[in-house]
Symmetry: C2
Subunit: 235 residues, 2 copies
Amino acid sequence: MTTKAPIPSSKIDHTASIAPQVYDYLRARIVDNRLPPGTRISEAPLASKLKISRTPLRVALQQLATEGLITTRPQVGNIVAEFDSAQLLEAVLIRAALESAVVRRLANAMIDLSSLESIMAVQERAAQLDDYATFFIQDEAFHAELARLADMPRAWKITHSIKGHVDRQRYTMMAGIPKRSQRAFEEHLRIIKEIRSGSPSGAASAMRDHVNSVLELDLQGHGKDLPETYGQNNS
Amino acid sequence: MTTKAPIPSSKIDHTASIAPQVYDYLRARIVDNRLPPGTRISEAPLASKLKISRTPLRVALQQLATEGLITTRPQVGNIVAEFDSAQLLEAVLIRAALESAVVRRLANAMIDLSSLESIMAVQERAAQLDDYATFFIQDEAFHAELARLADMPRAWKITHSIKGHVDRQRYTMMAGIPKRSQRAFEEHLRIIKEIRSGSPSGAASAMRDHVNSVLELDLQGHGKDLPETYGQNNS
DNA sequence: GTCGGTATACTAGTATACCAATTGATAAAT
DNA sequence: ATTTATCAATTGGTATACTAGTATACCGAC
Protein backbone atom coordinates (compact mmCIF):
# COMPACT_ATOMS: atom_id res chain seq x y z
CA MET A 1 0.00 0.00 0.00
CA THR A 2 2.35 2.70 -1.16
CA THR A 3 -0.19 4.61 -3.17
CA LYS A 4 -3.24 6.04 -1.58
CA ALA A 5 -6.44 4.19 -2.20
CA PRO A 6 -8.55 5.94 -4.80
CA ILE A 7 -11.00 8.13 -3.00
CA PRO A 8 -14.47 7.02 -3.99
CA SER A 9 -16.46 10.12 -4.60
CA SER A 10 -19.66 8.23 -3.97
CA LYS A 11 -18.67 4.60 -3.33
CA ILE A 12 -20.54 3.60 -6.46
CA ASP A 13 -18.82 2.90 -9.76
CA HIS A 14 -21.14 4.31 -12.38
CA THR A 15 -19.36 2.47 -15.16
CA ALA A 16 -20.40 -0.91 -13.76
CA SER A 17 -23.75 -2.35 -12.91
CA ILE A 18 -25.11 -0.48 -9.93
CA ALA A 19 -27.58 -2.81 -8.28
CA PRO A 20 -25.06 -5.49 -7.27
CA GLN A 21 -22.75 -2.88 -5.81
CA VAL A 22 -25.54 -1.48 -3.69
CA TYR A 23 -26.45 -4.99 -2.61
CA ASP A 24 -22.90 -5.67 -1.46
CA TYR A 25 -22.74 -2.28 0.18
CA LEU A 26 -25.86 -2.84 2.24
CA ARG A 27 -25.25 -6.51 2.97
CA ALA A 28 -21.81 -5.78 4.37
CA ARG A 29 -23.22 -3.09 6.60
CA ILE A 30 -26.01 -5.28 7.86
CA VAL A 31 -23.76 -8.25 8.51
CA ASP A 32 -21.15 -6.26 10.40
CA ASN A 33 -23.83 -4.50 12.37
CA ARG A 34 -23.19 -0.97 11.17
CA LEU A 35 -26.87 -1.19 10.30
CA PRO A 36 -28.21 -2.87 13.41
CA PRO A 37 -31.57 -4.60 13.58
CA GLY A 38 -34.50 -2.23 13.45
CA THR A 39 -32.69 0.34 11.35
CA ARG A 40 -34.93 1.83 8.74
CA ILE A 41 -33.59 2.03 5.20
CA SER A 42 -35.66 4.50 3.21
CA GLU A 43 -35.27 4.48 -0.51
CA ALA A 44 -35.30 8.15 -1.37
CA PRO A 45 -32.77 9.36 1.21
CA LEU A 46 -30.35 6.51 0.59
CA ALA A 47 -30.66 6.89 -3.18
CA SER A 48 -29.73 10.52 -2.98
CA LYS A 49 -26.94 9.79 -0.53
CA LEU A 50 -25.42 7.26 -2.94
CA LYS A 51 -26.20 9.54 -5.87
CA ILE A 52 -28.20 6.90 -7.67
CA SER A 53 -31.84 6.58 -8.53
CA ARG A 54 -34.38 4.53 -6.67
CA THR A 55 -34.54 1.88 -9.40
CA PRO A 56 -31.27 0.00 -8.84
CA LEU A 57 -31.55 0.57 -5.12
CA ARG A 58 -34.88 -1.18 -5.10
CA VAL A 59 -33.36 -4.14 -6.90
CA ALA A 60 -30.78 -4.47 -4.14
CA LEU A 61 -33.41 -4.11 -1.44
CA GLN A 62 -35.58 -6.79 -3.01
CA GLN A 63 -32.63 -9.15 -2.96
CA LEU A 64 -31.94 -8.42 0.68
CA ALA A 65 -35.61 -8.92 1.44
CA THR A 66 -35.74 -12.34 -0.19
CA GLU A 67 -32.69 -13.27 1.85
CA GLY A 68 -34.47 -12.13 4.98
CA LEU A 69 -31.87 -9.56 5.99
CA ILE A 70 -34.47 -6.83 5.74
CA THR A 71 -38.23 -6.84 5.74
CA THR A 72 -40.05 -4.56 3.37
CA ARG A 73 -43.37 -3.30 4.61
CA PRO A 74 -45.24 -1.47 1.85
CA GLN A 75 -45.99 2.13 2.65
CA VAL A 76 -43.91 1.83 5.82
CA GLY A 77 -40.31 1.12 5.00
CA ASN A 78 -37.46 -1.31 4.81
CA ILE A 79 -36.31 -2.44 8.23
CA VAL A 80 -33.18 -4.40 9.06
CA ALA A 81 -34.32 -7.75 10.43
CA GLU A 82 -34.03 -8.48 14.13
CA PHE A 83 -31.91 -11.30 15.41
CA ASP A 84 -34.12 -14.32 15.54
CA SER A 85 -32.81 -17.53 17.02
CA ALA A 86 -35.39 -19.61 15.18
CA GLN A 87 -34.37 -18.04 11.92
CA LEU A 88 -30.73 -18.62 12.72
CA LEU A 89 -31.37 -22.25 13.54
CA GLU A 90 -33.20 -22.75 10.29
CA ALA A 91 -30.41 -21.07 8.38
CA VAL A 92 -27.90 -23.43 9.94
CA LEU A 93 -30.08 -26.43 9.19
CA ILE A 94 -30.42 -25.39 5.57
CA ARG A 95 -26.75 -24.68 5.21
CA ALA A 96 -25.87 -27.99 6.75
CA ALA A 97 -28.24 -29.82 4.43
CA LEU A 98 -26.93 -28.12 1.31
CA GLU A 99 -23.25 -28.25 2.08
CA SER A 100 -23.50 -31.83 3.27
CA ALA A 101 -24.93 -32.70 -0.10
CA VAL A 102 -22.04 -30.89 -1.75
CA VAL A 103 -19.28 -32.77 0.08
CA ARG A 104 -21.20 -36.00 -0.20
CA ARG A 105 -21.10 -35.57 -3.93
CA LEU A 106 -17.42 -34.73 -3.87
CA ALA A 107 -16.62 -37.82 -1.82
CA ASN A 108 -18.68 -40.04 -4.05
CA ALA A 109 -17.04 -38.81 -7.22
CA MET A 110 -13.58 -38.65 -5.68
CA ILE A 111 -13.08 -35.20 -7.10
CA ASP A 112 -9.59 -33.79 -7.05
CA LEU A 113 -9.28 -31.14 -4.34
CA SER A 114 -5.91 -29.71 -5.21
CA SER A 115 -7.43 -26.34 -6.06
CA LEU A 116 -8.18 -25.95 -2.37
CA GLU A 117 -4.56 -25.96 -1.34
CA SER A 118 -3.80 -22.32 -1.91
CA ILE A 119 -6.88 -21.37 0.06
CA MET A 120 -5.90 -23.69 2.87
CA ALA A 121 -2.42 -22.25 2.98
CA VAL A 122 -3.72 -18.75 3.53
CA GLN A 123 -6.16 -20.07 6.09
CA GLU A 124 -3.41 -21.74 8.04
CA ARG A 125 -1.46 -18.53 8.28
CA ALA A 126 -4.52 -16.54 9.28
CA ALA A 127 -5.42 -19.15 11.88
CA GLN A 128 -1.96 -19.04 13.42
CA LEU A 129 -2.16 -15.27 13.68
CA ASP A 130 -5.74 -15.49 14.88
CA ASP A 131 -6.55 -13.07 12.08
CA TYR A 132 -10.23 -13.65 11.95
CA ALA A 133 -10.97 -11.03 9.31
CA THR A 134 -8.73 -12.72 6.77
CA PHE A 135 -9.97 -16.11 7.82
CA PHE A 136 -13.55 -14.97 7.30
CA ILE A 137 -12.84 -14.17 3.68
CA GLN A 138 -10.95 -17.39 3.08
CA ASP A 139 -13.69 -19.37 4.74
CA GLU A 140 -16.09 -18.00 2.15
CA ALA A 141 -13.67 -18.94 -0.59
CA PHE A 142 -13.29 -22.45 0.82
CA HIS A 143 -16.99 -23.18 0.82
CA ALA A 144 -17.50 -21.58 -2.58
CA GLU A 145 -14.73 -23.67 -4.07
CA LEU A 146 -16.24 -26.86 -2.67
CA ALA A 147 -19.53 -26.07 -4.39
CA ARG A 148 -17.74 -25.20 -7.60
CA LEU A 149 -15.83 -28.46 -7.60
CA ALA A 150 -19.05 -30.35 -7.01
CA ASP A 151 -20.57 -28.53 -9.96
CA MET A 152 -23.37 -27.17 -7.80
CA PRO A 153 -23.39 -23.44 -8.46
CA ARG A 154 -26.99 -23.02 -7.45
CA ALA A 155 -26.33 -24.67 -4.11
CA TRP A 156 -23.63 -22.12 -3.47
CA LYS A 157 -25.85 -19.22 -4.43
CA ILE A 158 -28.46 -20.38 -1.98
CA THR A 159 -25.88 -21.05 0.68
CA HIS A 160 -24.43 -17.60 0.24
CA SER A 161 -27.80 -15.96 0.39
CA ILE A 162 -28.73 -17.75 3.60
CA LYS A 163 -25.28 -17.26 5.06
CA GLY A 164 -26.12 -13.63 5.74
CA HIS A 165 -27.92 -14.53 8.94
CA VAL A 166 -25.13 -16.80 10.06
CA ASP A 167 -22.44 -14.30 9.22
CA ARG A 168 -24.19 -11.54 11.09
CA GLN A 169 -24.46 -13.76 14.13
CA ARG A 170 -20.85 -14.76 13.81
CA TYR A 171 -19.71 -11.20 13.38
CA THR A 172 -21.21 -10.04 16.62
CA MET A 173 -19.90 -13.07 18.47
CA MET A 174 -16.47 -13.60 17.07
CA ALA A 175 -14.79 -10.79 18.99
CA GLY A 176 -13.09 -12.06 22.09
CA ILE A 177 -13.14 -15.71 21.22
CA PRO A 178 -9.55 -16.75 20.69
CA LYS A 179 -8.48 -19.72 18.64
CA ARG A 180 -11.79 -19.67 16.84
CA SER A 181 -10.25 -19.59 13.41
CA GLN A 182 -7.75 -22.26 14.44
CA ARG A 183 -10.61 -24.58 15.22
CA ALA A 184 -12.44 -23.79 12.00
CA PHE A 185 -9.25 -24.47 10.09
CA GLU A 186 -8.98 -27.90 11.66
CA GLU A 187 -12.58 -28.59 10.77
CA HIS A 188 -11.81 -27.71 7.19
CA LEU A 189 -8.93 -30.16 7.26
CA ARG A 190 -11.20 -32.87 8.54
CA ILE A 191 -13.74 -32.21 5.78
CA ILE A 192 -11.01 -32.49 3.17
CA LYS A 193 -9.67 -35.66 4.72
CA GLU A 194 -13.11 -37.32 4.72
CA ILE A 195 -13.70 -36.37 1.10
CA ARG A 196 -10.31 -37.67 0.07
CA SER A 197 -10.90 -40.94 1.87
CA GLY A 198 -14.03 -41.36 -0.23
CA SER A 199 -16.43 -41.37 2.67
CA PRO A 200 -19.63 -39.50 1.78
CA SER A 201 -21.21 -39.96 5.18
CA GLY A 202 -18.01 -39.01 6.95
CA ALA A 203 -17.64 -35.88 4.86
CA ALA A 204 -21.26 -34.98 5.40
CA SER A 205 -20.89 -35.47 9.11
CA ALA A 206 -17.76 -33.34 9.23
CA MET A 207 -19.50 -30.59 7.30
CA ARG A 208 -22.53 -30.72 9.56
CA ASP A 209 -20.39 -30.37 12.64
CA HIS A 210 -18.53 -27.49 11.07
CA VAL A 211 -21.67 -25.61 10.11
CA ASN A 212 -23.36 -26.30 13.42
CA SER A 213 -20.47 -24.90 15.40
CA VAL A 214 -21.86 -21.39 15.09
CA LEU A 215 -24.78 -22.45 17.24
CA GLU A 216 -22.47 -23.02 20.18
CA LEU A 217 -21.99 -19.30 20.45
CA ASP A 218 -23.90 -17.47 23.10
CA LEU A 219 -26.96 -15.71 21.84
CA GLN A 220 -26.33 -12.65 23.95
CA GLY A 221 -24.32 -9.53 23.64
CA HIS A 222 -25.42 -8.24 20.28
CA GLY A 223 -23.05 -5.57 19.17
CA LYS A 224 -24.21 -2.07 19.76
CA ASP A 225 -21.49 0.02 18.22
CA LEU A 226 -21.54 2.37 15.29
CA PRO A 227 -25.18 2.68 14.50
CA GLU A 228 -25.84 4.27 11.18
CA THR A 229 -29.20 5.19 9.78
CA TYR A 230 -30.65 6.31 6.50
CA GLY A 231 -33.84 8.29 6.74
CA GLN A 232 -35.28 11.37 8.18
CA ASN A 233 -32.88 11.50 11.09
CA ASN A 234 -29.49 10.86 9.54
CA SER A 235 -28.27 11.62 6.09
CA MET B 1 -69.84 -23.85 -12.03
CA THR B 2 -73.24 -22.35 -12.59
CA THR B 3 -72.06 -18.82 -13.05
CA LYS B 4 -69.65 -17.87 -15.71
CA ALA B 5 -66.12 -17.21 -14.58
CA PRO B 6 -65.45 -13.48 -14.35
CA ILE B 7 -63.79 -12.42 -17.54
CA PRO B 8 -60.49 -10.81 -16.64
CA SER B 9 -60.18 -7.71 -18.71
CA SER B 10 -56.40 -7.84 -18.39
CA LYS B 11 -55.60 -10.80 -16.11
CA ILE B 12 -54.07 -8.39 -13.63
CA ASP B 13 -55.90 -7.18 -10.56
CA HIS B 14 -54.93 -3.55 -10.21
CA THR B 15 -56.27 -3.39 -6.67
CA ALA B 16 -53.66 -5.87 -5.45
CA SER B 17 -49.90 -5.91 -5.65
CA ILE B 18 -48.93 -6.35 -9.26
CA ALA B 19 -45.43 -7.79 -9.24
CA PRO B 20 -46.35 -11.12 -7.57
CA GLN B 21 -49.23 -11.60 -9.96
CA VAL B 22 -46.98 -11.11 -12.94
CA TYR B 23 -44.48 -13.51 -11.42
CA ASP B 24 -47.14 -16.19 -11.05
CA TYR B 25 -48.42 -15.44 -14.53
CA LEU B 26 -45.05 -15.93 -16.16
CA ARG B 27 -43.90 -18.81 -14.00
CA ALA B 28 -47.01 -20.80 -14.81
CA ARG B 29 -46.50 -20.22 -18.51
CA ILE B 30 -42.87 -21.20 -18.41
CA VAL B 31 -43.48 -24.32 -16.35
CA ASP B 32 -46.33 -25.57 -18.53
CA ASN B 33 -44.32 -24.83 -21.65
CA ARG B 34 -46.62 -22.22 -23.14
CA LEU B 35 -43.41 -20.18 -23.11
CA PRO B 36 -40.94 -22.77 -24.34
CA PRO B 37 -37.18 -22.50 -23.89
CA GLY B 38 -35.62 -19.81 -26.00
CA THR B 39 -38.69 -17.61 -26.00
CA ARG B 40 -37.82 -13.97 -25.64
CA ILE B 41 -39.73 -11.96 -23.08
CA SER B 42 -39.35 -8.27 -23.80
CA GLU B 43 -40.33 -5.83 -21.15
CA ALA B 44 -42.01 -3.10 -23.13
CA PRO B 45 -44.33 -5.25 -25.26
CA LEU B 46 -45.38 -7.48 -22.37
CA ALA B 47 -45.95 -4.51 -20.10
CA SER B 48 -48.29 -2.91 -22.59
CA LYS B 49 -50.01 -6.22 -23.24
CA LEU B 50 -50.69 -6.65 -19.51
CA LYS B 51 -51.49 -2.96 -19.20
CA ILE B 52 -48.92 -2.40 -16.52
CA SER B 53 -45.71 -0.44 -16.37
CA ARG B 54 -42.25 -1.85 -16.74
CA THR B 55 -41.51 -1.36 -13.07
CA PRO B 56 -43.44 -4.24 -11.49
CA LEU B 57 -42.78 -6.40 -14.51
CA ARG B 58 -39.07 -6.06 -13.97
CA VAL B 59 -39.48 -7.15 -10.37
CA ALA B 60 -41.13 -10.35 -11.56
CA LEU B 61 -38.46 -10.92 -14.18
CA GLN B 62 -35.69 -10.48 -11.65
CA GLN B 63 -37.29 -13.11 -9.46
CA LEU B 64 -37.55 -15.52 -12.37
CA ALA B 65 -33.94 -14.82 -13.26
CA THR B 66 -32.67 -15.61 -9.77
CA GLU B 67 -34.60 -18.85 -9.94
CA GLY B 68 -32.95 -19.63 -13.24
CA LEU B 69 -36.16 -19.93 -15.23
CA ILE B 70 -35.06 -17.09 -17.46
CA THR B 71 -31.73 -15.52 -18.21
CA THR B 72 -31.50 -11.78 -18.56
CA ARG B 73 -28.90 -10.58 -20.99
CA PRO B 74 -28.49 -6.81 -20.78
CA GLN B 75 -29.25 -5.01 -24.01
CA VAL B 76 -30.44 -8.27 -25.52
CA GLY B 77 -33.45 -9.57 -23.69
CA ASN B 78 -34.96 -12.01 -21.26
CA ILE B 79 -34.87 -15.53 -22.61
CA VAL B 80 -36.65 -18.56 -21.21
CA ALA B 81 -33.99 -20.99 -20.04
CA GLU B 82 -33.26 -24.12 -22.00
CA PHE B 83 -33.72 -27.53 -20.52
CA ASP B 84 -30.47 -28.49 -18.88
CA SER B 85 -30.02 -31.93 -17.43
CA ALA B 86 -27.17 -30.80 -15.17
CA GLN B 87 -29.32 -28.02 -13.81
CA LEU B 88 -32.20 -30.42 -13.30
CA LEU B 89 -29.97 -32.85 -11.46
CA GLU B 90 -28.71 -30.13 -9.17
CA ALA B 91 -32.25 -28.97 -8.52
CA VAL B 92 -33.22 -32.47 -7.49
CA LEU B 93 -30.18 -32.80 -5.27
CA ILE B 94 -30.96 -29.52 -3.55
CA ARG B 95 -34.59 -30.37 -3.14
CA ALA B 96 -33.74 -33.76 -1.72
CA ALA B 97 -31.30 -32.23 0.74
CA LEU B 98 -33.73 -29.59 1.94
CA GLU B 99 -36.82 -31.72 2.17
CA SER B 100 -34.92 -34.55 3.80
CA ALA B 101 -33.89 -32.11 6.49
CA VAL B 102 -37.52 -31.10 6.90
CA VAL B 103 -38.87 -34.60 7.42
CA ARG B 104 -35.89 -35.51 9.56
CA ARG B 105 -36.83 -32.69 11.82
CA LEU B 106 -40.47 -33.73 11.89
CA ALA B 107 -39.54 -37.30 12.78
CA ASN B 108 -37.18 -36.20 15.50
CA ALA B 109 -39.71 -33.92 17.12
CA MET B 110 -42.60 -36.33 16.57
CA ILE B 111 -44.73 -33.52 15.23
CA ASP B 112 -48.43 -34.15 14.84
CA LEU B 113 -49.29 -34.63 11.18
CA SER B 114 -53.05 -34.56 11.39
CA SER B 115 -53.21 -31.39 9.33
CA LEU B 116 -52.04 -33.43 6.36
CA GLU B 117 -55.08 -35.64 6.35
CA SER B 118 -57.37 -33.43 4.31
CA ILE B 119 -54.65 -33.00 1.71
CA MET B 120 -54.05 -36.72 1.58
CA ALA B 121 -57.75 -37.37 1.14
CA VAL B 122 -57.91 -35.19 -1.94
CA GLN B 123 -54.72 -36.74 -3.23
CA GLU B 124 -56.13 -40.22 -2.90
CA ARG B 125 -59.17 -39.30 -4.95
CA ALA B 126 -57.05 -37.59 -7.61
CA ALA B 127 -54.72 -40.57 -7.73
CA GLN B 128 -57.59 -42.99 -8.25
CA LEU B 129 -58.91 -40.88 -11.10
CA ASP B 130 -55.39 -40.41 -12.42
CA ASP B 131 -56.17 -36.69 -12.34
CA TYR B 132 -52.64 -35.42 -12.50
CA ALA B 133 -53.55 -31.73 -12.65
CA THR B 134 -55.32 -31.87 -9.31
CA PHE B 135 -52.62 -34.07 -7.87
CA PHE B 136 -50.00 -31.58 -8.97
CA ILE B 137 -51.61 -28.86 -6.90
CA GLN B 138 -52.07 -31.10 -3.89
CA ASP B 139 -48.51 -32.30 -4.13
CA GLU B 140 -47.40 -28.72 -3.75
CA ALA B 141 -49.68 -28.35 -0.75
CA PHE B 142 -48.30 -31.52 0.79
CA HIS B 143 -44.70 -30.43 0.64
CA ALA B 144 -45.54 -26.91 1.76
CA GLU B 145 -47.41 -28.23 4.77
CA LEU B 146 -44.51 -30.46 5.77
CA ALA B 147 -42.20 -27.45 5.81
CA ARG B 148 -44.76 -25.43 7.74
CA LEU B 149 -45.12 -28.12 10.36
CA ALA B 150 -41.35 -28.34 10.68
CA ASP B 151 -41.26 -24.58 11.18
CA MET B 152 -38.93 -24.14 8.24
CA PRO B 153 -40.58 -21.50 6.08
CA ARG B 154 -37.35 -20.49 4.43
CA ALA B 155 -36.64 -24.06 3.38
CA TRP B 156 -39.98 -24.11 1.66
CA LYS B 157 -39.38 -20.82 -0.11
CA ILE B 158 -36.11 -22.13 -1.48
CA THR B 159 -37.67 -25.44 -2.39
CA HIS B 160 -40.47 -23.70 -4.22
CA SER B 161 -38.11 -21.45 -6.08
CA ILE B 162 -35.97 -24.35 -7.23
CA LYS B 163 -38.97 -26.51 -7.96
CA GLY B 164 -39.62 -24.53 -11.12
CA HIS B 165 -37.08 -26.55 -13.05
CA VAL B 166 -38.40 -29.81 -11.72
CA ASP B 167 -42.00 -28.89 -12.37
CA ARG B 168 -41.26 -27.88 -15.92
CA GLN B 169 -39.55 -31.17 -16.53
CA ARG B 170 -42.40 -33.02 -14.93
CA TYR B 171 -44.98 -31.13 -16.90
CA THR B 172 -43.54 -32.09 -20.24
CA MET B 173 -43.12 -35.70 -19.16
CA MET B 174 -46.24 -36.44 -17.22
CA ALA B 175 -48.54 -36.80 -20.18
CA GLY B 176 -48.98 -40.42 -21.14
CA ILE B 177 -47.54 -41.92 -18.00
CA PRO B 178 -50.42 -43.63 -16.25
CA LYS B 179 -50.56 -44.38 -12.54
CA ARG B 180 -47.93 -41.75 -11.95
CA SER B 181 -49.96 -39.91 -9.34
CA GLN B 182 -50.89 -43.21 -7.74
CA ARG B 183 -47.25 -43.95 -7.16
CA ALA B 184 -46.52 -40.48 -5.83
CA PHE B 185 -49.44 -40.85 -3.45
CA GLU B 186 -47.99 -44.07 -2.08
CA GLU B 187 -44.63 -42.38 -1.64
CA HIS B 188 -46.35 -39.67 0.36
CA LEU B 189 -47.91 -42.32 2.54
CA ARG B 190 -44.53 -43.88 3.15
CA ILE B 191 -43.04 -40.53 4.13
CA ILE B 192 -45.83 -39.98 6.61
CA LYS B 193 -45.44 -43.47 8.00
CA GLU B 194 -41.72 -43.04 8.54
CA ILE B 195 -42.21 -39.71 10.26
CA ARG B 196 -44.91 -41.13 12.51
CA SER B 197 -42.71 -44.04 13.44
CA GLY B 198 -40.12 -41.56 14.64
CA SER B 199 -37.44 -42.60 12.20
CA PRO B 200 -35.51 -39.58 10.91
CA SER B 201 -33.29 -41.57 8.61
CA GLY B 202 -36.22 -43.58 7.30
CA ALA B 203 -38.21 -40.44 6.62
CA ALA B 204 -35.24 -38.80 4.95
CA SER B 205 -34.70 -41.83 2.81
CA ALA B 206 -38.34 -41.96 1.79
CA MET B 207 -38.27 -38.29 0.87
CA ARG B 208 -35.09 -38.70 -1.13
CA ASP B 209 -36.59 -41.52 -3.13
CA HIS B 210 -39.72 -39.49 -3.72
CA VAL B 211 -37.87 -36.43 -4.94
CA ASN B 212 -35.46 -38.47 -7.05
CA SER B 213 -38.27 -40.21 -8.88
CA VAL B 214 -38.53 -37.37 -11.36
CA LEU B 215 -35.09 -38.30 -12.65
CA GLU B 216 -36.39 -41.64 -13.85
CA LEU B 217 -38.31 -39.87 -16.57
CA ASP B 218 -36.85 -39.86 -19.99
CA LEU B 219 -35.10 -36.69 -20.94
CA GLN B 220 -36.54 -36.66 -24.41
CA GLY B 221 -39.74 -35.47 -25.98
CA HIS B 222 -39.92 -31.92 -24.77
CA GLY B 223 -43.38 -30.64 -25.42
CA LYS B 224 -43.76 -28.53 -28.48
CA ASP B 225 -47.33 -27.37 -28.31
CA LEU B 226 -48.80 -23.93 -27.97
CA PRO B 227 -45.83 -21.66 -28.29
CA GLU B 228 -46.50 -18.13 -27.18
CA THR B 229 -44.17 -15.22 -27.50
CA TYR B 230 -43.95 -11.66 -26.31
CA GLY B 231 -41.91 -9.40 -28.45
CA GLN B 232 -41.57 -8.18 -31.91
CA ASN B 233 -43.19 -11.22 -33.49
CA ASN B 234 -46.29 -11.89 -31.44
CA SER B 235 -48.47 -9.50 -29.48
C1' DG C 1 -56.84 10.71 32.24
C1' DT C 2 -58.82 8.22 28.37
C1' DC C 3 -60.82 7.61 24.13
C1' DG C 4 -61.72 8.95 19.44
C1' DG C 5 -61.11 11.66 15.61
C1' DT C 6 -58.09 14.59 12.66
C1' DA C 7 -54.24 16.69 10.41
C1' DT C 8 -49.83 15.78 8.75
C1' DA C 9 -45.79 13.71 7.16
C1' DC C 10 -43.53 9.64 5.36
C1' DT C 11 -43.18 5.58 2.56
C1' DA C 12 -43.18 1.82 -0.95
C1' DG C 13 -45.63 0.64 -5.30
C1' DT C 14 -46.62 2.06 -9.69
C1' DA C 15 -46.72 4.89 -13.88
C1' DT C 16 -44.55 7.56 -17.36
C1' DA C 17 -41.07 9.57 -20.14
C1' DC C 18 -36.57 9.70 -21.41
C1' DC C 19 -31.57 8.68 -22.24
C1' DA C 20 -27.37 5.75 -22.56
C1' DA C 21 -24.92 1.84 -23.93
C1' DT C 22 -24.69 -2.26 -26.29
C1' DT C 23 -26.04 -5.92 -29.00
C1' DG C 24 -27.52 -8.22 -33.30
C1' DA C 25 -29.08 -8.11 -37.67
C1' DT C 26 -29.28 -5.95 -42.00
C1' DA C 27 -27.49 -3.40 -45.77
C1' DA C 28 -23.78 -1.60 -48.22
C1' DA C 29 -19.30 -1.50 -49.97
C1' DT C 30 -15.15 -3.61 -51.29
C1' DA D 1 -17.51 -13.68 -50.02
C1' DT D 2 -16.00 -10.63 -46.55
C1' DT D 3 -15.69 -6.65 -44.21
C1' DT D 4 -17.81 -2.38 -42.78
C1' DA D 5 -21.33 0.84 -41.81
C1' DT D 6 -25.94 1.55 -40.36
C1' DC D 7 -29.93 0.97 -37.71
C1' DA D 8 -33.46 -0.90 -34.86
C1' DA D 9 -34.34 -3.26 -30.56
C1' DT D 10 -33.36 -3.98 -25.73
C1' DT D 11 -32.17 -3.60 -20.88
C1' DG D 12 -30.20 -0.54 -17.20
C1' DG D 13 -30.68 3.59 -15.16
C1' DT D 14 -32.47 8.49 -14.27
C1' DA D 15 -36.00 11.65 -13.07
C1' DT D 16 -40.49 12.85 -11.71
C1' DA D 17 -45.09 12.41 -10.23
C1' DC D 18 -48.97 10.27 -8.20
C1' DT D 19 -51.49 6.83 -5.09
C1' DA D 20 -52.72 4.74 -1.08
C1' DG D 21 -51.37 2.70 3.28
C1' DT D 22 -49.27 3.82 7.72
C1' DA D 23 -47.46 6.10 11.78
C1' DT D 24 -47.55 9.94 14.83
C1' DA D 25 -48.69 13.80 17.17
C1' DC D 26 -52.26 16.62 18.51
C1' DC D 27 -56.75 18.14 19.93
C1' DG D 28 -61.20 17.84 21.91
C1' DA D 29 -64.99 15.57 24.22
C1' DC D 30 -66.25 13.11 28.02
